[in-house]
Symmetry: C2
């Protein structure tokens, strides 16, 4: 077992800490944060999920953004829980026989701290859904600093297009350049390495399939961050293990003496867990080692109960001192929390030293 | 109505014309051909679907290729039609509650002709499934000649990875270079333009989604045919029309005086139809016009009955004389057939001239 120290201040951010973006809307979750250092502060880029406040408990509202006027307008579909044509059993979704709606829409918002533990969340969204590829929200950002700018990759959710992986870049966290769709639907959980490997940019990403195949983790390369190729499956789900049902990357990998260390999430359909994989320094298409057991998993109440229960989902990492990293994660699709681990402990476990 | 002349020799190729690739296997379909000119002959690259011969009518066999030994080995799963755990209602599939199998596996095979009508099919496969991304077969090729070589793009079907779009190139139709996965799962129906546009290669492709979104047609660009980006949705399904349920490209577009003319297929869940779209010559991301009505649709018996009924699916085109094109298509997922149309008639219809 790897020593994993949960911050005693967990959860670090809860929905109560968030000022709603829009009148008449409530915050359902503040979770799955990316993380980065900016202006001498340790920051999270938090996924804030919101929905219009329903008039009564029997009403479920599924929000979306309409860009047809040229401006972003919040609109919604309304459902009654008493209507037998709809299935409300998954809190995140409304399902009919042939269609699905999402019960919240997410934007991204900065939370700032001096110590990595006590965060103050901005009053206003940092990044809004901006186009029809994002009209049901933007989710689960990974932030990495690469060659004079921050790269923000995230899942873009769309009613017409499903889920794709988009890139936005910024140098000042005020102006943002939208670089479009990097990986086409359905695709999520994309992180870009913090440095080129043999002159090429590298990304991890997770295509999803419908009829055949499993949600495996893939790797790709690029010369310019826009055009991606040489796609290969890097990690498959492992039947019977903690990552049997799905795998996807965590935050951007970090370079260690032993190679690229990438934390990743796995699910067995009962829990979401965090593990790690070690990739060759010069050829990250080669897996050196992979966690037999999870590094951490839902244990605390805030991880076992929430909007979607039994989830730890880490997509934020900040390197600390003394060979430690802070891992920021979403707990039960509701809160932000953090743990500290020693890189050496993770490498020792991976390399069975 | 655009005048569309079906070849009176249709169907041009049927399963009876195909020598099975392997002892103990039967040919279920010879359909969805790509088309090209090679060595003074008009050729089709035919999708040949095969399955092991079942011992009795109650048995259904789903074949796959095993590459674990380093060699390609044909293996299969066997099902009884009497087993209530499985659904056999779609002839192409066997479904359980949580898994799907495919009742045939496809390879690609050349058929040669002097006149574009009377074809002789090679006795042996031209292109076999070659790796784990293709272990349930390779399907629906598009062939285009571009800068001294033929590009063959096709759907790669995999039990682990779903459906992705792969590229193989050849200069002599004897040796083939496998260029890997261009678009990650689920993705199919990929064609590459026969010339660069403003120095960039252009492709059409069709991501598929699971929970949200529709099977729309996308466009992408590349500098090197390997790394692709600037993905945008080009054509959406149109509710209430013939292409309401899915759209996907046909053969590689052809350059006309009015722009790039791309034939594409659409389905309304009752039939597969063929229509066309006209794209800007200098900016194929811009749609100039799109068929209101199908150009042709299943009418003949060989189109209305077969392995999967009511399908015309064109992914092969050869330019003929006098402004005509031959369109080669799969009829009912079983046979190859052809029609002749005048490009001017299609353009007049698109531009309402």
């Amino acid at each position: 077992m790897i020593p994993v120290r949960r911050f005693k201040e967990n959860p670090l951010i809860t929905p109560k800490d968030i000022v709603p973006s829009t009148p008449g809307v409530r915050v359902l979750g503040a979770f799955n944060p990316g993380a980065f250092v900016w202006n001498y502060e340790m920051c999270m880029l938090v996924r804030v999920s919101e929905a219009p406040i329903p008039p009564d408990p029997d009403t479920v509202i599924a929000p979306y953004f309409d860009f047809s006027s040229g401006e972003r307008q919040l609109k919604s579909w309304t459902f009654s829980r008493k209507d037998p044509a709809y299935d409300f059993s998954d809190t995140r979704l409304v399902k009919s026989r042939d269609r699905t709606w999402i019960t919240s829409a997410s934007h991204l918002r900065i939370a700032r701290s001096k110590d990595g533990i006590h965060f103050k969340v901005d009053d206003k969204p940092t990044l809004w859904p901006a186009n029809e590829y994002e009209n049901l929200g933007i989710e689960d950002p990974r932030v990495v600093y690469l060659e004079d700018r921050y790269l923000i990759t995230f899942s873009a959710i769309s009613r017409d297009h499903g889920v794709c992986s988009n890139l936005v870049t910024t140098q000042d966290w005020k102006t943002f350049e939208h670089r479009g769709v990097l990986f086409v639907p359905d695709n999520k959980d994309i992180c870009i390495f913090p440095a080129r490997v043999k002159d090429r940019y590298i990304a991890l990403h997770r295509p999803s399939t419908s009829m055949l195949g499993m949600p495996n983790l893939w790797i790709a390369e690029s010369d310019d961050l826009v055009h991606w190729g040489r796609h290969e499956c890097l990690l498959k789900v492992r039947p019977g293990q903690w990552d049997s049902a799905r795998v996807g990357c965590g935050p951007a990998p970090i370079l260690t003496d032993e190679g690229w260390l990438a934390f990743y999430h796995g699910s067995d359909n009962t829990n979401y867990y965090m593990g790690a994989v070690l990739l060759d320094r010069d050829n990250p298409y080669r897996v050196i080692a992979r966690s037999e057991d999870p590094i951490f998993q839902p244990v605390e109440l805030y991880e076992k109960e929430g909007f979607f229960a039994n989830v730890v989902f880490c997509n934020g990492l900040i390197e600390s001192w003394g060979g430690r990293v802070f891992l920021y994660y979403g707990a039960a699709d509701m809160c932000c929390a953090g743990v500290e681990v020693k890189v050496k402990d993770v490498l020792d476990d991976l390399l069975k030293r």
